[in-house]
Each structure stands twice: as C-alpha cells, then as structure tokens.
C-alpha cells in the first residue's frame, strides 16, 4: 500500500517540479521558406521563426517531408577558422519564446530532394514535438 502511494507522490512531485512540455499544436511557424536550390544540389536549407505562445516549454524533436529522404536540424559555429555544422537532435523553445532558423545560425537541412524545386513551389514539412506534430508549408524562395 505504501509503495503505490510513494510512487504517486514521486510522480506528482516530478510533474510539479519541472514545467510541462506542450505538444506542437500550440506552435506558430512564421515566414517558412526554403532557399532556391542550385542544380545538382543534394541538400537544401529551410528557415522559419517558431513561436511558442504557451506557458510551457516546447521541444522540437524532429521533422520530415514526403519530398525529401530525410530532414534534420543543424546549427552552425566557427571553430578554428572553419565553419562547422552539427546536427541537433532536439531543440527547445521556452514558454513564450522563439526559435529562429536563420542563415548562419540554425537551419533545417533537407536531404535528397525527390524532385527539382523552383521559386514559388511549396514544400510541406512535418515538425515533431515528441508524439505531436505540426505541418507547415515552406515556400521555395529565390536567392
């Protein structure tokens, strides 16, 4: 009898101690775009500003698209005179905060396009926050 109560107490205390993480439905995707790819480009870059209007942290855990073999989040930094890209498995958007995918910082990497894209085309991207997801249309934009 004491063990289930203890487990319940622990679960409640954990829940109360750390802020809840909401699903994607609360997420706002602003100015989503994919830069026009040059011919032979095997990887494209996508940008957007993601806003979390909720009172809880939101955690972006992945993305995919029917138009690409795979989609990843990448950060950029300068290390020893070289620009370094690294995959980010999860990205956090704080309560009432923003996450900015913009040139030179974070970008969405879209691998192996299934077709040629031209300015004006639209690409549907699914953004995942754990088990929740949100779809957004990213417009292919001329450089």
């Amino acid at each position: 009898m004491k063990l289930p109560l203890l487990a319940l107490a622990l679960a409640l205390s954990t829940t109360l101690a750390s802020p809840a993480v909401v699903g994607c439905p609360g997420l706002i995707v602003e100015a989503p775009k994919i830069m026009e790819p040059p011919p032979e480009a095997g990887v494209l870059a996508g940008y957007a500003r993601l806003r979390n209007p909720s009172d809880a942290e939101l955690r972006l855990t992945g993305a995919d698209s029917a138009d690409f073999a795979s989609v990843e989040f990448h950060s950029m930094s300068q290390v020893d005179k070289a620009l370094r890209m690294r995959p980010e498995k999860q990205l956090s958007i704080p309560a009432h905060g923003e996450l900015d995918f913009s040139p030179g910082k974070l970008h969405i990497m879209l691998f192996k396009p299934g077709k040629d894209f031209r300015p004006g085309d639209s690409v549907k991207l699914n953004l995942y926050c754990g088990r929740d997801s949100l779809s957004a249309d990213f417009k292919v934009t001329a450089r």
């Binding site: 040059p38 480009a41 095997g42 870059a45 990843e72 005179k81 620009l83 890209m85 030179g104 691998f111």
Partner: protein
C-alpha cells in the same frame, strides 16, 4: 719589382671584385626598395585584408569541366576563390549568390579583370561537370575546379584555408567543415589577401572595386 707588380695586380682584382659585389648589392637593394618602400599604398578593405607583400603559390594541378586548371589560369586578372562543395546547403550557395550580386555592381570594365573560382573540396561527389552546372547557375562566367584529396589538402594549406571531412552520424552523409573566407589572387598569380565573412554584396562590391584599381 715583379713582386710589387704582382701585389698591385692582385689588389686591383680584389677592388674590382668588391666593386662588382657592391654594385650587385645596390641593384638588389634598389629592386627591393621599388617593390616595398616605393610600392603603391594598398587600399584598406571593408571586409578583408590585403597582404603587405603577396606570396607565391606552390604549383598545383586541378581539373575543371573544360580541362586542367593550373597556376597559368590565375595569370592576367584578379581571382576570387571560394572553397566549398555542392552538398553544402547554406554557406556555399549563399556566398556564391552574394558574390554574383556584388559582381553585378562592379560595372563592365572592372568585371573583365576578375575571375571567380569555386573550388570543390568534395571530389568524390563533385565531378567537374556536376560542379560546373552548379557553379554556372549563379553566374555563367564563374569557373569551378576540383582535384584529388591530396591536391586539395596541399592547395588549401598553401592558401591558408582549412577543411575537415566527417560523416554526419544521423544521415550517414559526408559533411565538410570549411573556411568561409574568400581568397584573393593577384594578376601575377600570387596570394594577395582575403575577404572575411560575414559578407554583404555591397561591402564585397566596394572591396572588389578597390582591389581591381590596384596597378599591376
């Protein structure tokens, strides 16, 4: 008497030799002064630096879609080199687009004295033909070249560029960390300076205009 004449003869030879050496030294000093002290003052760039004295580039042999690309191809014009690869999603296409926009601001005459070269660090995927199709998307006059990994290592080191190839653990695809600065080669085919990011087409154009005014 003979001993005295012999001494005088030897002394004359020594003096003539000393004069010859002195003249040679003066000539060398004059050449050095002409190249350094009397050389035209180099412009101050908004987004880069010109080397006070240009540096020799070691011999190299690359390949382009039109055939070999060697130091001879660098002669007679300024060359702007950007090193990257076609699977680079952001920095490479962005930089090439910025260079294209800057080049369009130069005017028809200065443009004739400039060549832009996209150097691929990814010869496994960037064949010369693929590379050329990618590069000419930005500007039909942009050149491109690549080489063996050994050639690229050597040339990059000579030009002061760094790059590192790794495999992205998630996608399994090769990724290349690389320098983003632009290398300036003067019409003598010598390393003359760098343009350093972040770039804007306006500052690139201003710097290129300054560079293209430098007398050979």
């Amino acid at each position: 008497m003979n001993g005295c004449r012999h001494w005088m003869s030897r002394n004359l030879v020594a003096r003539r030799s000393a004069l010859g050496v002195g003249a040679a030294l003066l000539l060398l000093l004059g050449v050095w002064a002409n190249k350094t002290l009397l050389a035209p003052t180099l412009p101050v760039l908004e987004s880069g630096v010109l080397l006070p004295v240009s540096r020799q580039i070691q011999a190299f042999s690359l390949v382009s879609d039109t055939g070999p690309f060697t130091p001879t191809d660098l002669l007679g014009h300024w060359t702007l080199i950007f090193a990257g690869f076609t699977h680079c999603p952001e920095v490479c296409p962005t930089t090439l687009a910025q260079i294209k926009t800057a080049k369009a601001m130069l005017g028809p005459e200065p443009v004739k004295r400039l060549m832009v070269l996209f150097l691929s660090l990814d010869p496994e995927r960037d064949t010369p033909e693929r590379l050329a199709r990618y590069t000419r998307h930005f500007d039909p006059d942009f050149r491109s070249a690549t080489g063996t990994n050994a050639q690229l290592d050597s040339l990059a080191a000579n030009l002061g560029l760094v790059f590192l190839k790794q495999i992205d653990p998630q996608s399994g695809q090769p990724v290349i960390d690389h320098s983003a600065q632009l290398v300036l080669i003067n019409p003598d085919g010598r390393l003359a300076g760098y343009l350093i990011p972040p770039f804007s087409p306006e500052t690139l154009a201003a710097d290129l205009k300054s560079i293209l005014k430098i007398s050979p």
